[in-house]
Amino acid sequence: MQLARVIGTVVCTVKDPSLVGVKILMIQPLGDDLKPVGDPIAACDVVQAGPGSLVHWTSARESSMALPIPFAPVDAAITGIVDDVDVEDVGILEKEKIFGGGT
């Protein structure tokens, strides 16, 4: 699961029957600082996101489980529209206690 920005749409007329009615969007994966990480990918959408939306998405087998037909041949799906990203980078609390001694 990762953050991403929707950067465009993909239209396919000829496609696998299990993908009929499923919207496909181009997304740019982002880090928690909202800066791009890696290359854009195409992902199915089940939450009616649009270009410019900040979303969270999931990869691998799990992505098709978000779709109406859970055995669709899909490897990325948008699972939510993000309202807010709260980064509270406080480091590791009690780092010495947890990682401190060897024995």
Binding site: M1, G31, M65, G80, E88, K95, I98, F99, G102, T103
Partner: protein
């Protein structure tokens, strides 16, 4: 399973229904010394972890669904433990 530190959380209103009762946290992988390792990602929380906690994360769908008590929902990563102590023998 990997060690991570919790870096924050993500709020979403419009989302897949399975996320309704699960908090989504931003986690940063760390090594055995507690130093950052690679890029952060998102994981569902099952143990009420908070920012700064060192946690045990499974980045695999079947484990995530097992912990969260479902079999057909699109969970891919889950926080399933808060780490109290890490001991490494040969440093």
């Amino acid at each position: 399973m990997i060690l991570c530190r919790v870096k924050g959380n993500v709020v979403a209103t419009n989302k897949h229904p399975c996320f309704a009762s699960h908090k989504i946290m931003i986690v940063q992988p760390v090594d055995e010394n507690g130093d950052d390792l690679g890029a952060s990602f998102l994981a569902c929380d099952s143990v009420q972890a908070g920012p700064g906690d060192t946690v045990l994360v499974a980045r695999e769908g079947n484990a995530a669904r097992q912990v969260l008590g479902t079999w057909d929902d699109p969970f891919h990563a889950v926080i399933m433990g808060i780490v109290d102590r890490v001991s490494v023998e040969s440093r």
